[in-house]
């Protein structure tokens, strides 16, 4: 456990030192600012509310969870694996007295930490923006639900990240992984539109999982099913990814 902890700290520090985390943060803030500008513009221009104080964070989430968050998750996952493969850094990592499973787990956990941090920062800033610019009454319950929506979005994003980790262990170059991931993401989205009866099985659809948690009639069965689906995906991606990682010669 101590070894895992050390490896994790090491991975998080590596991520933290990379500029991508910072860029992700800056872009997230830009989205909030642009979103707020759009809401204020719509309000003063057309007299339409656009989004209230509680709705604004959910609006931001609905946009980022399908766009920049998967994108940066992919970049970070690629960085953690392909980046180190190509720069022969993995050899350095593996010389440490830590098993490959622990290295793999530490990397994956670091990605999860990155996603969660990104979500939390987005949540805090979008809430601030929401309260500052949309001075509508907000109930505590509504705020609670918004926080819940942000936190549980970690699960689908993390599942997606595990899928990308699997890709990084199949393909060598980080660039090809990135493009394959983006194309696959778009293809799965398109598939969901044309074969709507299967949409609920797709990872891209589960990115909107947070919506279920906001429902007035809490659809417990559906939430449970989606969770099991994501868990199934995650287990498959994780084991397949680790198998390839373990077999790799560095």
């Amino acid at each position: 456990m101590a070894a895992y902890k050390a490896a994790l700290i090491n991975e998080i520090e590596k991520l933290y030192k990379k500029k991508k985390a910072l860029v992700a943060l800056i872009i997230s803030l830009v989205v909030i600012v642009l979103g707020q500008l759009a809401v204020v513009g719509v309000r003063s221009g057309f007299g339409v509310r656009g989004a209230g104080s509680v709705e604004f964070p959910v609006l931001v989430l609905s946009v980022v969870v399908n766009t920049i968050l998967p994108l940066f998750t992919a970049l970070v996952a690629i960085d953690c694996f392909s980046g180190e493969f190509s720069h022969n850094l993995m050899r350095v990592t593996l010389t440490r007295p830590v098993s490959r499973l622990k290295v793999f787990m530490a990397k994956v956990t670091a990605i999860a930490v990155f996603i969660l941090a990104n979500l939390l920062i987005l949540m805090v800033f979008s809430m601030l923006a929401g309260f500052l610019f949309n001075a509508n009454s907000a109930t505590f319950a509504a705020v609670e639900r918004t926080m819940l929506a942000y936190v549980i979005s970690l699960f689908p994003l993390f599942t997606l990240a595990l899928g990308i980790v699997l890709l990084t262990n199949i393909f060598k170059s980080g660039t090809s992984v990135f493009f394959i991931a983006v194309i696959a993401f778009l293809a799965i989205k398109a598939f969901g539109i044309f074969f709507s009866q299967y949409t609920s099985l797709l990872i891209t659809t589960q990115l909107d999982w947070y919506n279920l948690w906001l429902a007035n009639s809490f659809p417990l069965a559906k939430i449970g099913r989606d969770f099991c689906l994501m868990l199934g995906y995650a287990l498959m991606f994780f084991t397949a990814g680790f198998y390839l990682f373990d077999k790799k010669e560095f």
Binding site: G47, G50, I193, F194, S196, T205, G232, T239
Partner: protein, 417 residues
């Protein structure tokens, strides 16, 4: 230790597959409330257009402000699919408190439209068709070509909101569906577009301004609620949708407007559509030719000369340089024949060189029944087509030539002196 982990890998992977597969199966099999609603809608539409002999659709729409009804519309449509007859009575209440009723009845041979019903000043327009019309009283919207695409788009837009429809199964096999979306759940784009529409509707440009304050800011859709029942036969026989809007007036005062729509499918195979008894009522009768516009009672009146002016612009003025002359020599229901010519005034001989003259023999084509089509040869010896239409009401003839050289006026007036 390490070996056991290796052995664990395939086990965990298999667990993942099993978990995914079993849940996926459960997910596909379990029908969501949204799907139940959609299936009910489809089955009802299919039954209405193909199965039921007759049925009644009851449709009402109400706008409420502060709990008070501002305007409403109630429409009872009776369909008799076997006999191809429909009857529609509606009553509407406008914001200024005026109640108006309207009525219409159609069957294969008749079309009756009532006006000023209930005012004591009732009048009926009674149209009789010379030929029986082929008509379906109810078209299944899901049978249209684009229905499938529309359904896909709707499904995609609705997205994860599908799971907000709650199903409650009753003991008798019927299902009660309900759903409620608050502002957070309504997609921002949908909310913004709907709010804009509301702003236009209640902008004070219409009669609503007398009863509802003009909303100028902070307009949004506060709540959407819906409920429906699917009966034991799988038919959607009742659907109620409520939309609550909120907005502020110029004085920052918040107001709420509620819109309710209710559709009920009732009296299946028990509806009687009866032709109204118009004896003793004010009736205006007309006779129509089947789908070909009004039948001309005595087409011979179109025999004669029709003209219009050939006009050009010269030195900043309109100048008449000649006339187009249309001589109709023969008119029958499916055939119109005559001669077309152009005459130019003195001094415009350059135009006259291209003067068009031909005779035509137009017959009604099957594709465009309102027009009689003909062919002619233009000055360059090319075969061209044209069409002629007789407008009885305005005493005009529309004479179209499919040519693109220069301005041409296709409306001809009769020469009467």
């Amino acid at each position: 230790m390490r070996i056991s982990k290796k052995a664990a890998l395939p086990v965990v992977f298999t667990v993942g597959i099993l978990l995914f597969a079993s849940t996926a199966l459960a997910d596909i099999v379990s029908k969501s409330g949204y799907d139940t609603l959609k299936d009910g809608l489809k089955q009802s539409a299919a039954s209405c257009s193909e199965k039921f002999n007759n049925f009644t659709l009851d449709y009402s729409f109400v706008i409420k402000y502060n709990g008070e009804i501002i305007s409403s519309q109630n429409d009872v449509k009776k369909f008799d699919r076997l006999n191809g007859a429909t009857e529609d009575s509606s009553r509407s209440l406008s914001p200024d408190g005026k109640v108006s009723d309207s009525y219409y009845y159609t069957d294969k041979n008749t079309w009756i439209n009532g006006t000023d019903i209930g005012t004591g000043n009732e009048a009926y327009y009674y149209t009789e068709y010379t030929q029986e019309r082929q008509m379906d009283v109810f078209d299944n919207p899901f049978k249209q070509d684009e229905a499938e695409d529309v359904e896909k788009i709707v499904d995609a837009v609705v997205g994860s909101l599908k799971d907000h429809v709650v199903v409650q199964e009753n003991a008798d096999g019927s299902k009660a569906l309900s759903g409620s979306l608050s502002e957070v759940q309504i997609p921002a784009l949908v909310n913004a577009v709907a709010s804009l529409q509301v702003k236009q509707a209640f902008s004070g440009q219409n009669s609503y301004s007398a009863r509802i304050p003009v909303l100028t800011q902070d307009i949004y859709v506060k709540q959407i609620e819906g409920s429906a029942t699917v009966n034991s036969d799988g038919l959607l026989d009742y659907i109620l949708a409520t939309v609550i809007l909120s907005g502020k007036d110029a004085q920052e005062q918040a107001h709420e407007i509620t819109m309710e729509t209710l559709v009920k499918l009732t009296d299946i195979n028990e509806t009687v559509v009866q032709k109204p008894d118009l004896s003793g009522k004010k009736v205006k009768r007309t006779t129509e030719r089947n789908s070909a516009g009004p039948q001309i009672s005595n087409p011979e009146k179109f025999i004669g000369t029709f003209k219009n002016d050939i006009i050009i612009e010269q030195d900043g003025k309109f100048v008449k340089i000649g006339e187009r002359i249309l001589q109709i020599a023969h008119v029958e229901s499916a055939n119109i024949a005559g001669k077309y010519s152009e005459e130019y005034k003195e001094g415009f001989e350059t135009y006259a060189q291209n003067a068009l003259t031909f005779t035509f023999d137009a017959t009604t084509s099957n594709q465009a029944k309102s027009d009689a089509m003909f062919e002619f040869r233009d000055n360059d010896g090319l075969n061209r087509s044209g069409s002629i239409y007789l407008d009885e009401a305005n005493a005009k003839v529309y004479f179209n030539l499919n040519m693109s050289n220069g301005p041409y006026d296709s409306v001809f007036s009769p020469v009467l002196e």
